[in-house]
């Protein structure tokens, strides 16, 4: 049997399916709705971000003379939290523009980058986020419990710390482990395809 025969028979096969207009309409509507949702959520996020920055700035300039260093550290942590949140959000958003019309090599590379970024967010940025949040809360508690007893103050620290890191740990064990396994699987699958395309 020659390859040309196979090719001819392949091309002569009956095409057993037609575009499904109903399903296509549903998909198109879903896409349009998602685009609108995305736009609205971006606007909401930007507005919320600006409002929070202004409010925190106002709090700082109004009260910074009444409070000491922990207050300033707490405000700085909140600003860093918001900055981190904004960087992570925009970077994640930039990956939404999937280049399906790129060559497969470029497309796969882009997908590997996107998945590695998601992995980084889970492994690293979530932890930095929690530490910053913990610092902001601890500094805040330090200020508001200045006149309280040492037992009360350290109990408040303890409860906050256990709650925050407890939830983080639970999340890591219950959810992140599976998510990371899935991401690793997808990344290795894509790398295999990429390697195989690279090889002659």
């Amino acid at each position: 049997m020659e390859f040309e025969d196979i090719q001819k028979s392949w091309q002569a096969q009956r095409v057993g399916v037609q575009p499904n207009p109903k399903l296509f309409e549903v998909q198109k509507n879903r896409w349009a709705r998602n685009q609108q949702k995305l736009l609205k959520s971006n606007i909401r996020m930007s507005l919320g971000f600006i409002t929070a920055m202004v409010a925190i700035g106002w709090v700082y300039f109004t009260f910074h003379e009444q409070y000491g260093m922990p207050f300033k550290v707490s405000i700085a942590c909140m600003y860093m939290l918001m900055l981190l949140f904004s960087v992570v959000s925009w970077r994640s958003y930039s990956f939404r523009k999937v280049g399906l019309d790129d060559s497969s090599q470029e497309y796969i590379q882009q997908q590997i980058k996107r998945l590695s970024w998601q992995k980084n967010v889970l492994e690293r940025y979530t932890f930095i986020y929690v530490v910053l949040l913990w610092m902001a809360l601890i500094m805040y508690i330090w200020e508001i419990t200045e006149t309280a007893s040492a037992t009360f103050r350290f109990t408040a620290f303890g409860i906050t710390t256990i709650y925050l890191f407890g939830i983080t740990l639970w999340n890591k064990v219950k959810k992140q482990k599976n998510q990371l396994e899935e991401l690793n699987l997808l990344i290795s699958g894509l790398e295999n395809i990429k390697d195989s395309l690279d090889k002659a």
Binding site: M1, F3, I6, Q7, S9, W10, Q11, A12, Q13, V15, G16, V17, Q18, P19, N20, L23, F24, Q27, K28, W31, L100, D101, D102, S103, S104, Q105, E106, Y107, I108, Q111, L185, L186, G189, L190, I193, S196, L197, D198, K199, A200
Partner: protein, 167 residues
């Protein structure tokens, strides 16, 4: 979508739907999954049309969208990977479906042999079966023309061998 774009899309589908369908059939052995992939590719072509810059040829662009969608689809739906079936199931037409016409039997056999290739090789052979040149396949996959040539020869040889073994 404005009317012109709608018309362009319908024309694109009309001109290419058979090729897209055959790529799906080559990539996924199970016909119901191939049909799902086919719809997904059409949908992705429609979305990607908004960003089509005209740098690549329309056919190259369509095949890129099709191939990349197939890669993503298969990764997201690992369950569609098809391990070898038991021997008696591999050749159902031998005893159980004698009424099938010869050409359809051969096509089934060919599809089964293609399903035994690695994922990326299935995609490449599907493009070869569509009569795409080495240059076009290199553009679609983003690899070097010479490498593609060597690779295609290997895949062809393996496919022919599989076809002979399974006969």
């Amino acid at each position: 979508m404005p009317d012109k774009q709608e018309k362009d899309f319908n024309q694109l589908v009309k001109d290419n739907h058979a090729s897209i369908y055959r790529i799906c059939r080559a990539y996924l052995y199970d016909i119901s999954h191939a049909n799902d992939l086919y719809q997904e590719i059409l949908y992705q072509i429609w979305i990607s049309m908004h960003n089509f810059s005209g740098k690549a040829k329309v056919s190259t662009w369509i095949y890129r969208v099709a191939v990349n969608t197939a890669i993503s689809y298969n990764l997201k739906n690992k369950k569609h990977d098809h391990p070898s079936l038991p021997e008696e199931v591999q050749f159902p037409y031998e005893d159980t479906m004698p009424q099938k016409i010869e050409q359809e039997i051969q096509l089934d056999h060919l599809r089964y042999c293609i399903s035994q290739l690695e994922s990326e090789n299935k995609l490449i052979i599907s493009l070869v079966l569509e009569n795409k040149s080495y240059k076009e396949i290199a553009e679609i996959t983003g690899t070097n023309v010479n490498q593609v040539g060597v690779k295609i020869n290997r895949i062809k040889a393996r496919l022919l061998k599989l076809m002979q073994i399974r006969r």
